[in-house]
């Protein structure tokens, strides 16, 4: 990166040096606060609402937060006029905000209103505080808005409109008493608010606050409100005579007391693959709040509802705290020693009796990299089997395959910054706003603020589709056709980047020949997308300066998942969209550590770092590293194949860590039969899952907040998370369990901290050679491949592709219809996937009351046309039957789906759509074809309560505006610029 040019500005005559164009306020305040501010926030920029940052420039007063570093700029901060204007601004703030810091749950060192009182040395209240004619709004399950504390800084509005881009919040500056409005005036809990928490995170005071903070943060804040209120009144009365000095000292004492009690720990989100990191604030085991910070590398100040508010599961009374052993018709509690001994004895017996191939291990995208490494090490080193796999198989492997075939690495080509930078995004089968909400926010912002273009292809008209420039609605399972057709169109219309191709890509002729059948006419016929729309999309792709393609389960969970992923990559190669900033292929990794589970080798055919088990050199290398003679050369069972092998009696024992495969694999009756047929099953988890019902031994594990480790997010970004609490009861971190268990097999691994495991990985794995805990301290992160010197690669392929010759390859792919087809009997297509609020099979989010309040149960979305034809409405109960099974579910009628296509979320432990899904899978990687699914629908009852409550955000009406729109305040006839006094300081 070129070094930024420096310049010198003069502040009160003193020279200050910094990069040209940087906000002056940040340069000045990076050390001690010198320019007072309240509304300014580094992630939001100057909002110009608070009026406390006045300075003189060229003899004129200006808001200091708007100034940028420029050579020779002269600024006066401290003369009488600036000071008077700053003071007037602050006086107006506390006319709207009652100062009761000692009994306020926000007095934790980060309250800007409190802090400025000190920095500015203010000790008297010049305008009296006055209440506003509004009630507190506590209708959202997670946060509270108190209009009496709101200083109208507009940070929340800016965050909601332009960072989260949910466009719920506005301020009506022309109202007599302006306030923050949800959907223009709805209760927060009945609005379009998605509870992402951005507004709460950036609020500079306690006007917007997490409910989990209230009454919990300070030693004095626990007081009941009928004691607190009279106390506040008494103190306010005293301040008439004492000024703020005495009470401020008291609040400083209070703050010091809190410092000793409140713990802040950096962690990484346990849910999706965005990999948001944040500080988690705790007192004892109580989670006060999740506080994202601008330094967090993937997300900055952003989170979604799950990362911000979805942590109650950690303290759920349903947590497993003791090992359990099946004893006749029940489970009984056991000691760790008894559980380990039994596991060691039974697995050894089975291995001796049936061979190593009779034992299999399943790892998890929820556990750390180090734990994924250890379980595959256990399988390979101790059991000499490649029967180890993880749930990437269920979702991500087709994308990995498609990229490995064409460009080399099976991972995102760049970072979220590249997605933001691209001129055009092609989003295929990814409901990003629900599944990867923070990435959705970043790209929605790129669209709103910088006019990025979006082409969205999906069966459903979800939020990303509704906001798209072009929405392609193909028939189910036909994406490959329009992708190939667009690739052909690039050549036909002269958009193909021939220079790039000739220099970088092999197999051009073969590829062009393979595209022969894929005319636009053919694509229209198969996909149903009109030719004109395809052309518009093609022209947009062909003329864009930089293109990224994003895709997710809508592509991968089909029989053609790998081929469709390949077709996406082919299209990007055709247009030269790899290796430059703002280009590349981006499969959206589903769970927080899907990428890491693969990278660290928990797969049936690779060692850590993607070295093939069939490669003799690699086997020798790893055998030497682990001190064994040889390792097996045959790939093991995939996890999708394991239940079938168990049902057939080939597999006798399984060890399943952190995966509820009895619910999340496809065709679960079949899976459950397989599990029931095992001779011995160990389940290691934090809850008693459906899979645990089949276990012989259940081991209580610890979630990420109870251990140290690292995760890899969708950008290949390795991030460190830290232990917040000790494990509950007798539960243990998975790496401890695996290490202790290994010793019962006679292997003394001797790890006492996960950093030692990472050190071992780094010495053995070339693409992770430079990874160490030292290099991951604080907010630091690394994108693999990481050289031994610590050099990482945020953007891949800048120097060629990951093949020996450095060239990419076109990989021709042909479309064929899926085996599972709708017919006269099974006449409807059932799509299935995620909703924003819940996660996976709800084992975690189902323990969060606020989330359950938003989405209490799963439901099936039915189109208005179909509902009318069948006489269905919201709340009708139907039976869905596939060729495998049947379930009952309630209906929501919505135009998110069309015609005979249905959609059902996977978030349930009962009536799971996997009762219906098939055993069909992508032949290249064995990923189940969850989304190739035909069903029939019978009505059980026409009437019933709607499964999606009316207060859910999907029924809200967004109010998009440009931002805070402070000009409207300035245009009020009664707005008077400081330092002159304001007639209505308590109002705006």
């Amino acid at each position: 990166m070129p070094a930024q040019k420096e310049c010198t500005v003069y502040v009160d005559g003193e020279p200050i040096t910094g990069p040209i164009g940087a906000p002056l306020i940040e340069i000045l305040n990076s050390d001690v606060i010198r320019m007072p501010f309240i509304c300014y926030h580094p992630s939001l920029g100057p909002l110009q609402t608070c009026d406390v940052c006045w300075v003189e420039v060229n003899g004129e007063l200006a808001r200091g937060c708007t100034l940028k570093m420029e050579e020779g700029l002269e600024v006066t901060l401290s003369n009488a006029r600036s000071k008077a204007a700053q003071r007037e601004g602050y006086d107006r703030i506390i006319a709207k905000h009652e100062l009761y810091c000692t009994v306020c749950d926000n007095n934790n060192g980060d309250c800007e209103v409190h802090n400025r009182l000190f920095d500015m040395g203010i000790d008297t209240q010049r305008y009296p505080f006055q209440r506003k004619p509004y009630e507190i709004d506590a209708s959202n399950p997670f946060y509270v808005y108190d209009p009496d504390q709101c200083i109208l800084c507009g940070r929340c509005v800016e965050a909601c409109q332009n960072v989260e881009v949910n466009e719920t919040l506005t301020i009506d500056w022309n109202a007599e008493y302006p306030r923050v409005l949800w959907d223009g005036g709805r209760p927060a809990g009945e609005s379009s608010c998605v509870s992402c928490g951005h507004c709460v995170t950036v609020c500079p005071c306690n006007a917007l606050q997490e409910k989990s903070m209230i009454g919990m943060a300070g030693p004095f804040t626990t007081m009941p409100s009928d004691v607190k209120r009279p106390m506040i009144e008494l103190v306010k009365e005293m301040e008439h005579t004492t000024g703020f000095t005495f009470i401020n000292r008291l609040s400083e004492v209070d703050h010091a007391l809190r410092e000793s009690e409140i713990k802040r720990t950096k962690t990484v989100c346990t849910y999706c693959g965005v990999g948001c990191s944040f500080e988690i604030w705790t007192r004892d085991r109580h989670i006060l709040k999740v506080q994202p910070v601008p330094d967090a590398p993937a997300n900055g100040i952003s989170t979604c509802i799950k990362g911000k508010f979805g942590w109650d599961f950690v303290n759920s009374p349903e947590r497993l705290t003791q090992p359990l052993i099946r004893d006749g018709e029940r489970f009984r509690e056991a000691s760790w020693d008894e559980a380990y001994s039994l596991i060691a004895q039974r697995l050894t017996e089975i291995r001796e009796q049936h061979g190593t191939e009779a034992v299999a291990f399943v790892s998890s995208s929820k556990v750390s990299n180090e734990e994924n490494y250890l379980i595959q090490k256990m399988a390979r080193q101790i059991f000499r089997t490649n029967n180890i796999d993880n749930c990437t198989r269920y979702c991500q492997n087709p994308a990995t395959e498609g990229l490995q075939r064409t460009v080399g690495y099976g991972a995102d080509s760049g970072t979220i910054r590249d997605l933001e930078k691209a001129e055009l995004l092609i989003i295929v089968g990814s409901n990003t706003a629900d599944s990867h909400p923070v990435i959705a926010s970043k790209i929605k912002a790129a669209k709103k603020l910088r006019n990025q273009k979006h082409i969205v292809a999906d069966l459903r008209r979800h939020e990303m589709a509704a906001r798209a420039d072009i929405f392609l609605k193909p028939k189910p399972s036909t994406d490959l056709v329009w992708l190939n057709a667009l690739a052909r169109y690039m050549f036909d219309a002269g958009y193909a980047d021939m220079e790039f191709i000739e220099k970088n890509v092999l197999r051009l002729e073969e590829f062009r020949q393979s595209l022969e059948p894929y005319t636009l006419e053919y694509a229209q016929q198969i996909t149903g997308i009109p030719i004109e729309t395809l052309k518009r999309a093609g022209d947009m792709i062909g003329t864009a300066g930089s293109v990224c393609a994003m895709w997710a389960m809508g592509v991968t969970q089909h029989e053609t998942g790998s081929d469709t992923s390949t077709a996406i990559s082919n299209l990007l190669l055709t247009t030269g969209n790899f290796g430059r900033p703002g280009t590349g292929g981006y499969p959206m990794r589903g769970h927080n550590n899907v990428q890491g589970a693969d990278d660290f080798g928990a797969m049936n055919d690779i060692f850590p770092g993607y070295e093939d088990v069939t490669d003799e050199r690699a086997r020798k290398h790893w055998a030497k590293g682990w001190g064994v003679d040889d390792l097996p050369a045959e790939p093991g069972y995939t996890n999708h194949a394991m239940p079938a092998a168990a049902a057939e009696g080939k597999l006798k024992a399984m060890y399943i860590m952190g995966e509820d495969m009895a619910l999340v694999d496809s065709n679960i009756q079949h899976v459950q039969q397989g599990l029931a047929n095992l001779d011995f099953l160990v389940v290691q988890d934090i809850f008693f899952t459906r899979t645990a019902e089949f276990a012989d031994v259940v081991l209580p594990a610890a979630p990420n907040l109870e251990k140290d480790g690292t995760f890899v997010n969708t950008e290949r970004r390795i991030q460190r998370f830290h232990k917040v609490f000790e494990p509950i009861g007798d539960a243990k971190p998975d790496w401890v369990i695996l290490t202790e268990l290994a010793s019962y097999f006679g292997y003394d691994w001797g790890y006492t901290h996960p950093s030692q495991i990472m050190d071992e990985v780094a010495t053995l794995t070339p693409i992770l050679a430079g990874v160490s805990y030292k290099r991951l301290e604080g907010w630091k992160s690394l994108h693999w491949p990481v050289g031994a010197d610590g050099h990482d690669e945020p953007l891949l392929y800048t120097e060629g592709f990951h093949f020996d010759d450095g060239k990419a390859r076109f990989h021709p792919v042909q479309w064929h219809p899926p085996q599972e087809q709708v017919d006269a009997e099974f006449d409807l297509h059932l799509n299935n996937g995620r909703l924003l609020e819940q996660f996976h099979e709800t084992n975690l989010t189902g323990k969060v009351p606020g989330i359950v309040h938003e989405v209490p149960e799963t439901f099936v979305e039915v189109s208005p046309e179909l509902a009318e034809k069948r006489g269905l409405k919201d709340g009708s109960r139907v039976r869905l039957t596939s060729r495998r099974g049947s379930l009952q579910v309630r209906v929501v009628v919505t135009d998110r789906v069309q015609g005979n296509e249905l959609y059902m979320s996977e978030h349930t432990r009962f009536n799971h759509p996997n009762i219906l899904t098939s055993d069909h899978s992508d032949p290249a990687v064995d990923t189940p074809a969850y989304k190739d699914l035909a069903v029939k629908m019978e009505i059980i009852s026409h009437d019933g309560p709607s499964p999606l409550p009316r207060h859910n955000f999907r029924y809200g009406k967004r109010t998009p505006v440009e931002g805070v729109e402070v000009e409207q305040k300035w245009q009020r006839p009664d707005y008077i610029r400081p330092p002159a006094g304001s007639p209505y300081p308590e109002r705006f």
Binding site: H286, L320, E329, E693, D696
Partner: protein
Amino acid sequence: MAKPLKYDVPKPDWTVTKTADDEMREFVELLHQRGVLRLANTLLGSLPKVSSLVMEGLYNRSGSNAVQNISALVQLVANMPPEQFRRICLGITEGLQAAQQTRPNERDMEAPGLKGAVKLLHNDELWRDLAPLIKAARSFSEAMQQSTDDGPHAGPGATER
């Protein structure tokens, strides 16, 4: 064939926030770490001796004066309107600050006699020496006269409305 079995997790024996027991244990530990317990124990151990020392201190002329004076001051302060008390405090503070800011030279302070006194009225050095006191008195009286309007709760705009 493993039959699927249910399992109900027993009621947890841990809590999210501390129990009274935890708080008490921590409290006692902290009292110990900070030396408070040691001090208290020592005090208790030597209570008879310490009490008699305290009583000796109080049961004499100056001790009794101090107790009575403190009670009088408390009564006075309790009966005084807070604005007035604040003004007195402000006055004293400002008076002291003014006195501190004007530092006289160190000099012998002998009685001047009547003639000397008249002469002294024209003596610049003396006026310099007296300045701190006079300034203190002036500041005190200004503070005492200050209108309550200038105190908290009155600022620009507050009266314009």
